[in-house]
Symmetry: C2
Subunit: 790 residues, 2 copies
């Protein structure tokens, strides 16, 4: 099967293209199209007019394109798919010989658009069938099927009894799918006056409305010629009306204005936007990407060349900073957001409960699979979620170990973590990480704690290895080779290995030095489980993280000389509260719902954001055990966790997150990723595999191995939807430019799409969404191999 072309949103300088939607069936879409085509010929006699009916049902001789050809003969009209039966396309298609997929239909339209755009200036009307949500041949909704093209809409309103409601609901269905409404056209009816009501309604929304008298009634007669003549007269009169000519001229004006706005956006942004994480010096408007819309895995980006201005599909290769999973502009999430907005707006969350906040909390507690967890604290993003988590941990530790008896000791509590960790950009979150380029220039930053070196998992020249940090073989042992990535993650089996023993020894010696010799105080262990994202997509040896957690948990005596260790069960924390920052690695990003499944150890506090809301709106959840929570119970209000944000547990975020989490779980349970998992299965070497902790990637093992053999590649990692390629570079680190060449090569249009990516120093990474299709992932793989070769 040949690969389907990636659909791009349609915008061309030379072509004004519109989608004609009807508020209902029988509202006169074809008649209105015929009038508009006639007016276009009059208003722009030098230009072309095209009319496309993608799907038509009923006898050929009654088809809409035939009507167009008859009454607007100058218009070039075409139907792509004609079903003979006069029923809905999804019924007609059942008996058709070949199945027409949505993607194939979009591709045909796109090809037609390209043909039109290759000719002189002109206008194209693409007429839908029935109402906005009438089924397509595949059974999907037209409004969803055509959305990736995102043509501006000409909505034909319903002039009949009940037509006000039908017109407004149709508008809303299109509006919430991100369509732009160009103009509403509607027939006039003196009794119902829908056009008057709708004119006011749409005027308030800055949408013009054109109303016209309906066609002459044609009662049953045998005088076909006479009927046609009367229709022709009607069309002649309508298409010459000043209001109609003004409407088609306004379409041209707004097309030009849209292009002008798109042209001006990068310069305006260059002038007025202060970008996150961006050195603006040397930045030019040309380096700013103008995103007109997005759909699925792709941005629709504006390309303004010398001769043509258009939109092009550009893969969102960083999953918009690791946040995307269910596709851009997912209608299910848009509806969830709107439903919560329409039911609550936002309601304050101190001492109050609403359904989305409670449902999400219950859903998380149930599915994280962590018996420790009992409590959910909401905030707005990963950074605030971490600040909350650290406050929780430090207070719990201080309370148990009496650190607050001496206020200075309480204040100097630090955290234990890994080198290269990143937890966010608010000062409290920054303080959890060691000094680095990210934070060294921030005046109030103060790295509070100790960060361990750690052995990394990588594939080098076809072999999965666990490599100690350079020059630290005495602490971490020699490089270990594994037959498969699955073997690396078989941590239970590795628990008894020499490596585990060496890790334990190194950790204990380090802790002893820090606490007993240097007199440092610690209040938490904070880890990004499995993979350090911002640090450079570093895959940590899971055995090391597991050993670190377990060693600290069994080191009560180190932190307390006096108190007796608490009775240990699955829910009490010991040693130090363990905080997992799962903002990037959680929620199926690396495969399992929680990365804890891959480690076989559970945190006392976990922080969730990014994919939590499926990539739509900010929300964070800090989940904690009851033991942690109990540390804040007291007689004074000041004993409590006095942290909050205005929009804490905002209903829109909670509802979108609930919908996203359910969808991610559904994808997992329904085997949606089986095609990705399949090639990884043969690589298993051990039995008794923990299903929850299955190790696989959307990037195929063959591809990963091939990449690892390339001469410019130092190493590569792939897990879940993440692929990261470390390039050889003389000057590695955040300031490196090694990956920029690869990034630049991939950004160019090829195979019908560009790839937008972010790099981390000499690490180039691409991240798929949780709904990215196999075909798209394979095509990205081809592009990456091609770019590496070049």
């Amino acid at each position: 099967m040949p690969a389907t072309a990636i659909t791009g949103a349609v915008l061309r300088r030379s072509l004004r293209a519109y989608q004609v939607y009807g508020a209902n069936t029988g509202v006169g879409k074809t008649v209105m199209s015929t009038i508009l085509c006639g007016a276009l010929h009059r208003a722009f006699p030098q230009e072309r007019v095209w009319y496309l009916k993608p799907v038509s049902t009923g006898p050929q001789d009654e088809a809409d394109d035939g009507h167009l050809s008859r009454f607007s003969p100058q218009t070039k009209s075409k139907t792509l798919v004609q079903y003979g039966e006069p029923v809905s396309p999804h019924i007609a298609a059942r008996t058709a010989s070949t199945k027409l997929t949505d993607a194939a239909l979009r591709e045909q339209i796109q090809r037609y658009v390209n043909d039109c755009a290759g000719q002189e200036q002109g206008t194209l009307l693409v007429e839908t069938a029935g109402g906005v949500h009438s089924p397509t041949p595949s059974g999907s909704s037209q409004a969803d099927l055509y959305r990736p093209l995102r043509l501006p809409v000409l909505l034909v309103g319903d002039h009949r009894l009940g037509g006000i409601s039908a017109s407004i609901s149709a508008f809303e269905s299109l509006h919430i799918r991100g369509y732009d409404m160009s103009t509403v056209v509607v027939f006039e009816d003196a009794q119902y006056e829908n056009h008057l009501y709708l004119r006011d309604y749409f005027a308030k929304r800055d949408i013009p409305l054109l109303s016209l008298p309906p066609p002459p009634p044609l009662p049953p007669s045998n005088n076909l010629a006479g009927d046609r003549e009367r229709m022709a007269e009607y069309y002649e009169e309508m298409a010459s009306r000043p209001a109609v000519l003004d409407t088609v001229k306004a379409l041209a004006t707004s097309h030009t204005a849209r292009l002008a706005r798109l042209d001006s956006m990068a310069p305006q942004a260059h002038k007025h936007i202060w970008y996150p994480f961006t050195q603006h010096s040397g930045m030019t408007p040309a380096s700013i990407m103008t995103i007109d819309s997005a759909h699925g895995d792709f941005f629709q980006t504006f390309s303004s060349g010398q001769t043509e201005k258009k939109l092009e599909p550009t893969l969102d290769g960083s999953a918009s900073w690791w946040s995307q999973g269910l596709g851009h502009a997912n209608p299910q999430l848009a509806l969830a957001a709107a439903h919560a907005a329409g039911r609550y707006g936002h309601v304050m969350f101190a001492g109050a409960i609403h359904e989305p906040a409670l449902s999400l909390a219950e859903l998380l507690l149930k599915n994280l699979g962590n018996p420790r967890m009992q409590r959910v604290f909401y905030s707005d993003n990963g950074s605030t979620g971490i600040e909350v988590g650290v406050k929780m941990a430090l207070t719990a530790a201080a309370k148990r170990y009496g650190y607050d008896d001496d206020k200075r000791q309480g204040k100097k509590m630090g955290v234990l973590g890994l080198k290269g960790s990143y937890h966010g950009d608010t000062v409290g979150a920054m303080d959890c990480s060691e000094p680095s380029t990210y934070n060294e220039r921030v005046h109030w930053y103060e790295g509070r704690g100790h960060w361990f070196d750690f052995p990394q998992v990588k594939m080098k020249e076809g072999t999965w290895i666990v490599e100690p940090p350079e020059g630290m073989e005495s602490e971490f042992g020699p490089t270990q080779e594994f037959a498969s990535l699955n073997d690396v993650f078989n941590v239970e089996a590795r628990d008894g290995s020499a490596a585990a023993e060496q890790y334990r020894k190194h950790i204990l010696e380090t802790l002893d030095r820090l606490v007993r010799v240097e007199g440092k105080t610690f209040g938490a262990l904070i880890l990004e489980p499995i993979m350090l994202g911002a640090g450079g997509m570093l895959l940590v040896d899971p055995l090391f993280q597991r050993t670190l957690v377990e060693t600290i948990r069994s080191s009560h005596a180190l932190f307390s000389s006096s108190s007796t260790p608490p009775t240990t069960d699955d829910t009490t924390w010991t040693g130090l509260p363990v905080v997992f920052d799962e903002v990037f690695t959680g929620m199926t990003r690396l495969g399992p719902f929680s990365p804890s499944a891959l480690l076989g150890v559970q945190p006392d506090i976990s922080v969730h954001a990014k994919l939590l809301t499926g990539g739509l709106v900010p929300l964070a959840a800090t989940v904690a055990s009851e033991a942690i929570y109990n540390a804040f119970l007291g007689s004074e209000k000041s004993d409590a966790l006095l942290h909050g944000h205005s929009y804490t547990a905002h209903a829109v975020g909670c509802k979108v997150a609930e919908t996203s989490v359910k969808e991610l779980l559904r994808l997992e349970a329904s085997g949606a990723w089986d095609a990705f998992k399949e090639p990884w299965k043969g690589l298993k070497e051990h039995k008794n595999e923990n299903e929850k902790g299955e190790v696989w990637s959307m990037w195929s093992p063959t591809f990963v191995s091939t990449v690892s053999h390339r001469v410019e590649v130092e190493s590569v990692v792939a897990l879940g939807s993440v692929l990261a390629i470390k390039l050889r570079d003389e000057n590695p680190g955040y300031a490196s430019n090694a990956a920029v060449g690869l990034q630049s090569a991939l950004s160019r249009l090829s195979d019908g799409f560009g790839i937008h990516s972010r790099v981390l120093g000499n690490v180039f990474y691409v991240m798929a969404g949780q709904t990215t299709e196999v075909d798209v992932v394979r095509r990205i793989e081809e592009r990456v191999l091609g770019a590496l070769a070049g």
Copy 2:
């Protein structure tokens, strides 16, 4: 005019009430209602069945309630308003003698519901007219008019050609308004098979669908009696069908399940939610408010008594932590959110631009009226917005004054501010405030800076005064009395006063001591302009803040011994960068769009959140001058402001904010607040009033004066939508309980609604929204006066 009752959402244990909506007109709402009524009588023979048609048009003898009475004679049916003309209610109402407002119609329905609920157990069907968006007598949409009642919906789908689309669009219009869909009912049509498609469609959304054969065709005949008999037979057969009986039984089951869930929500929340700013010790499930939905100014809260369980309207008296302005569940904002979600989802914002982010930035820069401002940096909430603002200011100051030459000096930079200030709960935002109950227990908190005492504006016993802090008359002068609040804010006139001179002297002496004697280093002045919210709704003498800003701006020499002061113009910062935290006080909360208008001085950096998005979703904008921005230009990436969040400038937030800001500006420009302003106008004593800096409150001056005379009241302030009453208390401060009595008295149901409020120690406050009606504000005033008297 008697006050209209506050509409509550309808839920009673003894009454199952539903709204019957049609996917279009003519889809058989009344026939379906008749069938369901018949089935209800069969399934629950001991129960009552009511049928209500709020608005009907056409001849009386053809009315739907007549049809019901005939074919389901046991059902008690009623029409509230009957228009004789067979056209849409908005047309029929034009010639009616009395105008029917939406609120009045809702009140009539509510009264009817109360009547029904007062009788035995039963079911009520409230049948709408036409389609979901068909106009009401006032011209609004039915879906909006009936939304405050939020009855579960029985949607009658459209079985005709085009009916799939009509049914789905109608569902979406209801769904995005926060309605719950109970069941879809639809006639079967063998040709179109809409019911089959829709059954699958709604099953995916967990909504059951019941399909039934349509009524027998009744061709034109004179045999009225025969027709009626055939209809009666049809009804008899349909109402006895097992599927129909199952459907009405399922309605009863889900009603019980809904009540059970509402009953369990507080206990579940008590078990699993960790609340912001809340001491959980001693908290019980009964102290948790269950919010089922919200609309306008009101939560709909669940009340579970011994005999009755129901929803009650509860005023959102804290404007949900000062975030609300355009009403809960505003459909305009819900649609804006959904449109952006449908067009983009979220797209990453490093080096990219999208329309909502750019439009919002342009809108803010244009309307803040601050010639300094050129740049907008987005983040997620007020706290992160402040962290960004502080990073900006400190770096700009350090760069100009060479503080980084000695790294320790750079690190010890503090801020100048006011005592009692609050800027958020992330560590960097906390560090901007002096030690207090909010932060003293946070281990990583460190108050960095100096915070000035300041004179407060308050009304005491009918007089507006400016009062120095206790025992600080030598620094701030004696208490000043003013004829009006407007006079207090006439800062230009007060510039030359003795008070101004004294303020200046105190500020300069303090700065000199801090910098020259104590050797402290400062990098910013951070103020909440006009009013300190969390500190206790403290109204600061605007002359003091103005003098503070101007004195620091003219104190270049104090901060730099070597560098020459920059050429002063309206855009360059001098002395220290001035940061205004307008999160609470901005966006018309205190009247003007920016509180700077009341001070007559402009910041170099301003932070906006809360009302920025009209109260729907989190978003913050940190706005800065080009001079501040330039401090981050450099050859290295590490010179840049390396701050960002995954959802930076998320399209949903930006689009909602753009819509909100435009609506707030429209309200201001259209004179929407004139009725509130009017009583404050007579109190002006000076001319040349700055229109942008107009001083007024939604709380009437008479009311404010009356409150100030009450014996338990120490003082009161009112500005914009904020009212704050400071109560006399032996033990003031955050730990005080003085206001709790007032809070508790107001929480009880009276005049048809309860009032939910938050208190700040001995300060009780209520905050209206920007769309709260005069009538509601006046009724709250009455309640407050009553509670104070009691």
